[in-house]
Structures are given as C-alpha cells and as structure tokens.
Subunit: 125 residues, 2 copies
DNA sequence: ATATGTGCAAAGCATTTGCGGAGAT
DNA sequence: ATCTCCGCAAATGCTTTGCACATAT
C-alpha cells in the first residue's frame, strides 16, 4: 500500500471520529466537517472512511435496516439502540461464552452484538 | 390492512423461505423462484418480503456490509458468517446474561448476535 | 516534479414506486 | 365486475468511480 498523505480533510475526518462518542453516519460526519471545511465532498468522506477502516483506525457499525455508521477505534465494545428515540449508545462490557453457540469444528474469530430496548431517558417517561 | 390475495408468486416466495435453512438475499430468492416462475420480477419479491416481515412470517437478517437477507420465521436463533466462503449459517443456541451489558435503567427488549469465523469445511482446508 | 488526494458529476447497486394491465375474489 | 397484485421501467438513496485539477511530499 502506498504512503498516505496527511491532508486537511483526513485530519478533520479523523479528529471528528476521535472526538465523537457514538457512531456517525457518513452524512452526519460530512455535516460536522462542513463547519471547518465547507468545500469537503461526500466522496472524500467515503474514501477516507474506507482507508481508515482498512488501517484499523475506524470501525463500521451495522444496525438494523440503516446505512452503515462509523466510529473511531476504541476498546472492544458493542451497541444499544433505543427503539423509542433511535439513539445508538456504546456499551462497555461484553458477555462471555459465545464459543458455546458454535457447531463443532467451527472457529470463532469475531462477533457483533447489538441490543435493542429503551434507554434510561425513554424508560422514565 | 386489506385482505391479502393468495397468488402464485406469494405462495412460491413463502415456500422457498420455509424450505431454506439459511437466510437468503432477495436476488438469491428470485433466482430460486425463477425455476418455478420465470416471469417473476424483483419488485414483487421485495413487496412480498416487506409484507411477510410485517406479518411476522419472515425476518430480516443484517450482516456486516451486505444487503439484507431474509429467512422464514423460526425459533429464536442467531447467525454465523464464514469469513472464507461467505456462507451464513443458523446457530441454534443463545448465550445468556446480556442484561449485564446494560447501563442502569436501560430496558432490554431484543438483541442481535452475529458470529464470524471459519466454518467446519473451511477450517479443515 | 511527481504521484496521491480532492471535488465534481456520472455510474452502480439495492430498494421503492407509478402505472397500465393481469389475475384473484 | 371489482379491486388487488404483478411486471416493467423509472426513480430514489447510498456508495463508488473516472477524470481533471490541486496539493503534500
């Protein structure tokens, strides 16, 4: 892979991912980035995200029937989507014992867990 | 909701879902259906799937960066995707203790778990 | 100086929708 | 006979790509 250039647009995209505590849609990321760089195009956002995922700096987050969101790489964690308000929260613990779900001779390399329900705010209303 | 008609195309689509033991892409479903009804169109597949999901007869399955698959309604289960051959398998057990992942005052209503790795066939090669 | 990155616009897919005609009731 | 469903083709929304120019090295 060729050497990567340190452009203004990549810096902005990386820093937004780093500073945001929940996964973002490419469109949302673009809107935030437009505050510092109005000329930024959506194609650049997709190209940067693809590269950052390849480098392990960003992770794709797939939820239900919606377009892929992206978040900065952090500790291993999963997500909770509130069915009332739609917000996606990070969850910071992880259940064990997933191996027990596998048929024999299957090898477990990774897993996705997404929980759905009502967040604290929506539960209290 | 208006009364649903019992057309040949819906019968075929339902029976394919019922007889297949893993989730199918709309495109794959269409190809199988073409064997019994070559004139079937993809729009009809999408319309039928949307109705069947609403009726609870089919479930959408979301995996990674791929288009939504669909499967007939069965017992609660999850999925395993082989990273080598791409096949999606049903898993018939389910881990407990997901509640422990939640922040306080969050209410758990549903969950998705997808495991990734190598299936028995690909492990042995 | 040179090769990579960018913005724009066009292309590609997956999915949805409008419409006139076919088929189920 | 009527009203829903179908197939087709056009439209939509998200994502990718080609190209000419800009810019980091």
């Amino acid at each position: 892979m060729a050497k990567q250039r340190n452009t203004q647009q990549r810096q902005i995209i990386e820093s937004i991912l780093r500073e945001t505590d929940h996964p973002l849609l490419p469109k949302e990321l673009l809107e935030i980035a437009h505050q510092s760089l109005p000329s930024l195009g959506i194609a650049t956002v997709f190209r940067a995200l693809k590269d950052l995922v390849k480098e392990g700096v960003a992770h794709p987050v797939h939820i239900c029937c919606e377009p892929t969101r992206y978040e900065g790489a952090r500790d291993h964690h999963h997500h909770f989507k509130c069915l009332d308000c739609g917000t996606v929260f990070d969850l910071h613990s992880c259940t064990g014992n997933l191996e027990s779900m596998l048929p024999s001779n299957f090898q477990l390399l990774a897993h996705d867990i997404t929980l759905f329900g009502k967040c604290a705010d929506c539960t209290s209303h």
